[in-house]
Symmetry: C2
Subunit: 416 residues, 2 copies
């Protein structure tokens, strides 16, 4: 029998370091030519497997694969596609197994967030049911930092670093302008359900400038009057106010701030933007001149200022995934286990996918201050290690030297 | 007679490198203790002079002054305050001269854009009229890159680099997501009148991914149908579309896109945001899923990824300002003169403020493509040298080690 192949797919929103995980995984697999034949990557994630659109990574040079470590985005394409339950979509699951069988794929690596870990778990179940020998390993990835068991998720540390740096830089700007012009700056960051990314903005304050003075977490019900009072207090005390707002903040009635009561001239519900909504409140309230930014994809693709800790962990989890698979561990996910905050020490371990699936890790209550507007020292101790070190990409002609792969497709065998 | 002092003020919107100019200027002055006594900085710009709020920079250590080179924002505070004509506000001009006289200030350095150069020119005129011996030197600064005579303005190269990198990173993100999710990404950048910053987004395309496919310049009248057609063509050809839009784009009738017809639920004209306005058009037109970012202050304070060329030029222009002043050259501004594109060679020269005042340098017509949606090779040749090199700040604990000055105030002498 020929040497079995592996399948790897990227899932959901990409990050600055998901390709570093791919790099760790492919490099580890290449070190085991007797045990892993080729690593096939799904073109646009799991959809690539369903459509038998497999990328043969063996055509990529070792330099190209190494370049993945410093390239943001998803090099093979990702997708937002959730397989339903096995009962509802057994045909899709069977199709996956057919594709794996046709291409002698015996290792399945799925690099994503909570939904993806759930999918990886289900695929391990269907493979077992059908008697197909498949080792399934989930690999964590999400800027939302909401996977359980792992101390942090690859992708989060780099967003955290970007947001902390951006908040500090913008604070220095607004401080300079506040005497005669802009007094309030609002930075909108990602985080629909959990405030991890907004919390990272709090790291900007090391006592130099006390910004951001206001952090808005999705965990805390938004109260307009309290928010405006806090902004006003900050402007009166410091001369300015810097706000970091999570996109997911809501009123007590559950409505998102970004959509609450905002219509365009045609009466259509207006598209998001927590930052402009908050600025409008300030304009109608205390009336300070405001500036606002929405970092959106910039924050999660900012490989130019990625956290070195994050890049290293992303790489090692990819490597570990191969090790686990070759060790015959099925339906598991490698995780980061923190041993101490200072000095920051951590090890890689693994947990069962059955335990991970569909559990969301929220911010602990003691990470948010009493008044709900800032982070606690406990939160700072947790976050700070994750943004350490600057893993700069190489540059060419003034721009980061991000890699583009060949992405040669494997010839299809099956009928569609 | 005691050694004369100097006055330095930062004006208008701050940049990632205006403090590098302050650093060059103060370090140059400190090398001439026999000719320049102290450098006083205006607290919050020229307002500091009017209010006799002077910062004594001699209390700052040489390490602190050196740290200015890597710190964004305006270390002494800036302001948006334009002195009117001498006829309208002679009293204000006389007050400035009184303050300078009281503190033995014989050198006036004004670090700003077009308005500030105009002010510096007027101050030289009133000093002459009043017979007060004052040497006035304007020092260029503006992310808008719209000052005449100087090949580029300190501050612009770093914004250009930030925007080019951000556009490239976000493009890699949307490419990864486009099969099943986001197909269009819109990045809003600064530039009310001139499209220099939007043009820099065009540098992201080096042939790897062809993004951005659409650049919207304030120089080109916005045509909604043409824009939507271009976005659609891009999505159909590439599978996605990346848009870089200047905040200053307008319809043929002169209305800004950001305000055109957009009202909130209360009927108030809605605050800015070109990016969300464009996304709304796409949603109502072809209906692609979009993401958008507004970089606002982040782009001009992003010292963490400043252009090394920009930092060096900012520093040298500060240094040159002192040299010009000590050389007795009054009412001048140091400028960058480009000698060649490749290899990039340039020298520092100077021009008369009388020639600079109130002239805006627009993008040359041959810098924008025929269809109005991208930059030409001529534009690329101009821009590329300005983003070369990465001038990274030092880091401490995962964050840039930005300096905070003591900013000790000089005791007031005059009645207010």
């Amino acid at each position: 029998m020929s040497i079995p192949n592996a399948f790897y797919a990227q899932s959901g929103g990409v990050t600055a370091v998901i390709n570093a995980t791919a790099c760790g995984l492919i490099e580890a697999a290449r070190k085991q030519p007797d045990r892993i034949g080729k690593v096939f990557a799904g073109r646009n994630g799991i959809i690539g497997a369903l459509n038998e659109e497999l990328i043969d990574t063996s055509f990529e040079s070792s330099e190209a694969i190494a370049g993945l470590r410093q390239t943001p985005g998803g090099a093979f394409g990702s997708c937002r596609y959730k397989l339903k339950s096995i009962e509802e979509s057994e045909q899709e699951y069977r199709r996956l197994i057919d594709v794996f069988k046709a291409h002698n794929i015996r290792y399945f690596f799925y690099n994503g967030g909570g939904d993806s870990q759930d999918t990886a778990h289900k695929i391990s179940q269907i493979a077992e049911k059908l008697g197909y020998p498949l080792t399934c390993v989930g690999v964590p990835k999400t800027v939302d930092n909401d996977l359980p068991f792992t101390d942090s998720c690859p992708g989060f540390g780099s967003v955290a670093k970007y947001v902390a740096i951006s908040a500090r830089e913008a604070a220095l700007d607004v401080i300079s302008m506040s005497a005669t012009s802009t007094k309030v700056f609002v930075l909108e960051v990602m985080g629909r359900h959990a405030g991890w990314i907004a919390a990272a903005g709090g790291l900007a304050d090391e006592g130099h400038n006390d910004a951001p003075q206001v952090i808005l977490f999705p965990e805390i019900q938004f109260d307009k009057q309290q928010f405006l009072a806090k902004v006003q207090e900050s402007v009166e005390t410091h001369g300015y106010c810097c706000v970091v707002a999570s996109e997911g903040i809501r009123y007590a009635d559950g409505h998102f701030i970004a959509e609450a009561g905002r219509k365009d001239a045609f009466g259509h519900s207006q598209l998001g933007g927590v930052a402009p909504a908050l600025v409008e409140m300030i304009n109608e309230g205390p009336g300070y001149k405001c500036h606002w930014a929405v970092s959106d994809y910039l924050q999660r693709s900012a490989r130019h200022i990625a956290s070195a800790v994050d890049v290293e962990q992303a790489y090692l989890l990819g490597e570990k995934a191969v090790e686990l698979a070759l060790d015959g561990q099925n339906a598991v996910m490698p995780v980061i286990v923190r041993k101490s905050d200072e000095p920051y020490r951590w090890v890689v371990d693994s947990v069962s996918l059955a335990d991970v699936a569909n559990v969301e890790k929220m911010m602990p209550e003691n990470f948010i201050s009493e008044d709900g507007f800032s982070i606690t020292n406990a939160c700072r101790s947790y976050l700070l290690p994750l943004i350490q070190g600057e893993s700069y990409p190489s540059y060419q002609n003034g721009l980061p030297n991000y890699i583009g792969l060949e992405n040669r497709m494997v010839e299809k065998i099956l009928a569609t």
